[in-house]
Amino acid sequence: MRAAAFFTPWADPEGLLVWLEATFGLPRALFEGHRFWLRSDSGTLWLADAATFPPPGVRLDAFGMLAFRDPPPRGRPTNVFALRFGAHATRSVLDLDAADARRLLAGEPVAVTDAGEAGWRILRGPGQVLGMGRVAEGALRSELPRSWLLDVDPATGWGDA
């Protein structure tokens, strides 16, 4: 069991917003209704609705959504963060067709041409953000949690494509 953690507002939201816009083209207006918080024991960054407050006097296990396990520029956004906001990204995005999206969910390698520079990518399929990926040495590596892929049947996705 973990020791009690507390959450404090992230000291540099401005730097984070600048980084998100520069890296993924996510407009800062997207986060106007939210606040970033730092978790004391793990140094993780969390995103919560601006009106959400941590209840006092009780052990807090999570507050809003885990946005970064490690603050940028070292860390990348989490997959849950990507799913929530990735549709608005305009940079560092890889759009996959339905067949490649199914391959990704099946845990198979996805070949991409023009992968671009090494770095993080938000992966998208037709009409659906897929999660995070990373380009290294010209190849795409999936950053999707393995636990997500345990039960999913990729054939149930993208019936019309």
Binding site: H34, P55, V58, L60, G64, P154
Partner: protein, 302 residues
């Protein structure tokens, strides 16, 4: 046949239908998550994957699926476009009536199905505290909230009977109390023996303490919803009666379209209950082809 259900044959309207239904598998119900995409788009996806899906009359963005369909394998599930929840449980969460920007407490939240419903009703704005006493069960809540993309929640691990107050109080509190789970007999592997008197006594003490605490945590005029997935009057009407040391009244619940609701019992085993107990709701499994459930909507007075 479940021994645990035999004791209700005197108070149920159709004992044969009741026992027959309690042994049948439960239909699955899924609902569209509007935080991910427009439910109309999700509806197309659901009908593509399961043409037999029928929308609920009282909640058109939720569908009943045949018991053998496994939505947990869908890509649409993995990405949080839909969530599965028993229909009776969905009703209990809906009766909380959570609204955007409010301060809402789910006192016994794991595994998080009702929490998810509350977050969606709040349009992911405000403060939704999802508490559970069991640390090991918090991860289940977090998995649900992560998958659905919720940001308005604080997941806490505390004893609900002594949960700390906040200045001004919560607008709404849901007490989905631990219980003997007799109403879940239709879920796989959930045929229950009759609860021992000693266990029943213990759980009633806990339920009463949780409900009393909830009535202190909610602001005056605020709403407390008390629910269990059991038929036992000791754990339902009896608990409401025992918590009557706090000032509240039980509000009437209008039956949603397509659902048949039975009133709370006026008496059980020689014990009579307060007059507004008739406003409480008991869902018998055979009335709506759901699980068994009890829900009471309370308004704190003063």
């Amino acid at each position: 046949m479940s021994v645990a259900l035999e004791r209700y044959l005197d108070v149920v309207d159709d004992p044969v239908a009741f026992l027959a239904c309690a042994a049948r598998p439960l239909p699955r119900v899924i609902w569209a998550n509007p935080l991910r995409q427009d439910p109309a788009r999700t509806a197309e996806e659901v009908l593509r994957l399961c043409p037999e899906a029928t929308p609920l009359a009282w909640r058109p963005d939720a569908w009943r699926l045949p018991a053998d369909v496994k939505p947990g394998r869908w890509v649409a599930w993995m990405y949080g476009l839909v969530h599965a929840q028993e229909e009776a449980s969905l009703l209990a969460a809906s009766l909380v009536g959570a609204k955007p920007g409010e301060r809402v407490l789910d006192l016994c939240a794991a595994p998080g199905g009702k929490t998810a419903c509350l977050a969606v009703d709040m349009a992911d704005r405000g403060t939704l505290v999802a508490n559970d006493r069991s640390y090991g069960r918090l991860s289940a809540i977090r998995r649900v909230l992560d998958r659905l993309g919720v940001t308005c929640t604080a997941v806490t691990c505390g004893n609900g009977t002594v949960f700390p107050e906040i200045p001004g109080g919560y607008d709404r509190v849901l007490v989905d109390a631990p219980c003997t789970c007799e109403g879940t007999s239709r879920k796989p592997g959930r045929q229950h023996d009759l609860a021992s008197p000693r266990y029943r006594h213990t759980i009633v003490q806990i339920q009463t303490a949780l409900l009393r605490r909830a009535l202190r945590l909610v602001r005056p005029g605020g709403r407390v919803v008390y629910s269990t997935c059991t038929y036992a009057p000791e754990e339902n009407e009896g608990v409401l009666e025992a918590a009557s040391t706090e000032a509240f009244h039980i509000e009437p619940v209008a039956a949603p379209p397509g659902l048949r609701l039975a009133p709370g019992l006026p008496a059980w085993e020689g014990r009579t209950f307060r007059p507004d107990m008739a406003n409480a709701v008991r869902l018998w499994a055979h009335h709506n082809d759901t699980g068994g459930f009890f829900v009471a909507v309370l308004k704190r007075e003063g």
